[in-house]
């Protein structure tokens, strides 16, 4: 949990510059995933709830990609990734606890 010592002119400690190519690659990945989602949901309609689960799963993958590359988590201090994880854990706990109540009614 030690915080990074700032260097003397108070610039961000993380200097990584992502390349344009990396950003473009990220976009292509995201578009592909979107395509898969649409295909699964529109054409896999008979899978019913399963298609929702898949769609959400893919959405989660997309979110991770956006956060990791576009939002620079990959190159930032580990602290940020841990905090994002904390928020996700909390949200999942809220939904799971609420769901337990409704499913067992």
């Amino acid at each position: 949990m030690e915080h990074p010592e700032k260097n003397k002119d108070n610039q961000p400690t993380t200097h990584h510059i992502s390349s344009y190519k990396e950003h473009f690659g990220t976009l292509v990945t995201l578009l592909l995933l979107t395509f898969v989602t649409v295909v699964v949901s529109v054409f896999g309609a008979n899978l019913a709830t399963l298609s929702v689960a898949t769609a959400l799963l893919i959405a989660t993958v997309k979110v991770v990609v956006v956060a990791y590359y576009f939002m620079h988590l990959k190159y930032d201090l580990k602290l940020y990734s841990w905090l994002v994880l904390l928020v996700i854990v909390l949200f999942v706990a809220f939904t799971v606890l609420t769901a337990i109540e409704y499913i067992n009614r």
Partner: protein, 541 residues
């Protein structure tokens, strides 16, 4: 870029003068005091409403007001006390004033955001109080705004929930500012594990403020939307569910009770070492238990809904987790008591408040355990036992810690001193009045008197009467205490040095009151942790 160059011999009261230099100041100390003055104003309004309620409950039947007015009274009392007084109280006043000083820096990370959060707070307060004078009257729903009643009643619920929404933003901004400040601005050499425990407590609190408040924001917004658009979002006739509202409300509002409690724990952890002149017992245990409380506190909201018809599984889980949250609190209490062991104890008003805190918070906590157990909560839910419980933790706990802090840091903030003898007398009256007011509520709750009752059955009369008399004793004590503090401004002759209590944290190394830049010389950290009295740096005037 610029660095902070310090100016000697001017304290933060000097320098710019006039109202505007205060309400537009970005100095954390002035903002802290702005909060103090506004907060005390709302507190007086809130307690006055409380006194009126107690007067109404003196005898069965009507004593003072109509049923509807009574309902509006307790709603406004709850809203003011929760959102305007106790949630901001310690963080916004003492956190703002002392956190940067204790960390050895000159301000919070975002000074302007800090000022903004005070303005938002005032805006929210005006919105909340505006219902008194305009529209269809203050809400009459209880501070919980339970649907569907809150959607149906003709009183001005929309304004009240929007006010709470706005106040949430103020709370979030304070929390955000503190987290960043703690991460970025600790003085060199102060690692996380060398931070004062008050900073630790605020750190844990801030995480709750940031991560829980948005949920209630959106929920209250839904209530407002529902009323304005005339749709029944929580209405079963269109497929909604009133219980869902309760879940969302308590997902925030249970963690919120630790927003109220954790900073108070921090205060106690500061007062005890100072007045025992020894290091705190179990520093790490106290520091980490704050984080544990904050974390576990997120998962136990269901204990407010044990009688709402939740599934057995959910009741089982929520009840069990509720008991777990008592453990870190227990750890704190034991460590505090152990800190008294072999100290050199100087009994002064702040210490009295701290001891009363421990005693009353225990009563509050233990009644909390009784409520957390399923069988007993089925009987006690929504009775005056609950009212007794939360006044014990909120007023007997946080309220007492707040006043303890006020007595503790008074000489530092103003460079003056109140009359200690009068303070001790006021404390005694306050303490007796408090217990006389709230203990009977526990009894009458066990007897089965529901809360939010304008009128009650004759068998509940005696405890209610004692309770109302207690409220008058309490009021006497409070008035005496406030009077004593205020007259200290005018009558104090003694010039207060840097360190009247012989404290060890950094705020005692600077002048009283502190200069605008907080320090007139470089603060020195004790060698082994913040409470290392054996290697206490000597402080020259």
């Amino acid at each position: 870029m610029y660095m902070t160059t310090l100016v000697a011999n001017t304290n933060f009261f000097q320098g710019k003068k006039g109202l505007f230099s205060w309400i537009f100041s970005v100095d954390h100390k002035r903002i802290g005091l702005l909060y103090l003055y506004s907060l005390m104003t709302f507190f007086i309004v809130g307690v006055t409403l409380g006194l009126l309620m107690r007067y109404e409950l003196l005898n069965p039947g009507k004593d003072l007001v109509e049923a509807k007015t009574y309902n509006q009274l307790f709603t406004l009392h709850g809203v003011i006390m929760i959102f305007l007084f106790i949630i901001p109280s310690i963080p916004a006043v003492f956190g703002n004033f002392f956190l940067p000083i204790m960390l050895g820096t000159d301000d919070v990370s975002f000074p302007r955001l800090n000022l903004l959060s005070w303005w938002i707070y005032i805006l929210g307060a005006i919105m909340a109080l505006s219902t008194l004078v305009y529209g269809d009257g203050p809400a009459d729903t209880g501070w919980t705004f339970y649907a569907p009643y809150s959607v149906r009643t003709g009183t001005n619920v929309s304004m009240a929930v929007l006010a709470a929404f706005v106040l949430g933003f103020s709370s979030i901004l304070t929390g955000l500012n503190f987290i960043v400040t703690i991460h970025r601005l600790r003085t060199p050499g102060m690692s996380f594990l060398k931070m004062p425990l008050f900073a630790w407590a605020l750190y844990a609190t801030s995480w709750i403020q940031v991560l829980a408040t948005p949920i209630i924001g959106i929920t209250l917004l839904m209530i407002a939307a529902e009323r304005m658009l005339g749709v029944g979002l929580f209405d079963p006739s269109i497929g909604g569910d009133p219980i869902l509202y309760q879940h969302l409300f308590w997902i925030y509002s249970h963690p919120a009770v630790y927003i109220m409690a954790l900073p108070a724990f921090g205060i106690i952890s500061e007062i005890l070492p100072t007045f025992t002149q020894r290091t705190i017992f179990g520093y790490k245990a106290i520091a980490f238990s704050s984080l544990a409380i904050a974390f576990v506190g997120y998962f136990i909201w269901g204990h407010h809904m044990f009688t709402s018809g939740m599934s057995g599984t959910a009741r089982f889980i929520f009840s069990m987790l509720t008991f777990l949250v008592a453990i870190p609190t227990a750890i704190k209490v034991f460590n505090w008591v152990a800190t008294l062991y072999k100290g050199s104890i100087n009994v002064q008003p702040p210490l009295l408040y701290a001891l009363a805190f421990i005693f009353q918070f225990m009563i509050g906590g233990f009644t909390g355990l009784i409520l957390g157990a399923l069988a007993t909560d089925i009987h006690l839910h929504d009775t005056h036992f609950v009212v007794g419980h939360f006044h014990y933790v909120m007023f007997g706990g946080t309220g007492f810690a707040f006043f303890g802090a006020l007595h503790y840091w008074y000489p530092k903030i103003w460079g003056k001193m109140y009359n200690v003898k009068v303070a001790n007398v006021a404390f005694t009256i306050f303490f007796i009045g408090f217990n006389m007011l709230y203990f009977p509520m526990l009894i009458v709750g066990l007897m089965g008197m529901p809360r939010r009752y304008y009128d009650y059955l004759p068998e509940f009369h005696l405890p209610n009467m004692i309770s109302t008399y207690g409220s008058w004793v309490l009021a006497t004590g409070l008035l005496l205490m406030l009077g004593n503090l205020i007259s200290g401004f005018y009558t104090s002759k003694r010039k207060i040095g840097r360190n009247p209590w012989n404290g060890i944290t950094l705020e005692w190394q600077t002048t009283s009151p502190p200069p605008l830049q907080n320090f007139d010389r470089m603060p020195v950290l004790p060698k082994n942790g913040p409470y290392d009295y054996e290697n206490k740096p000597s402080i020259k005037e």
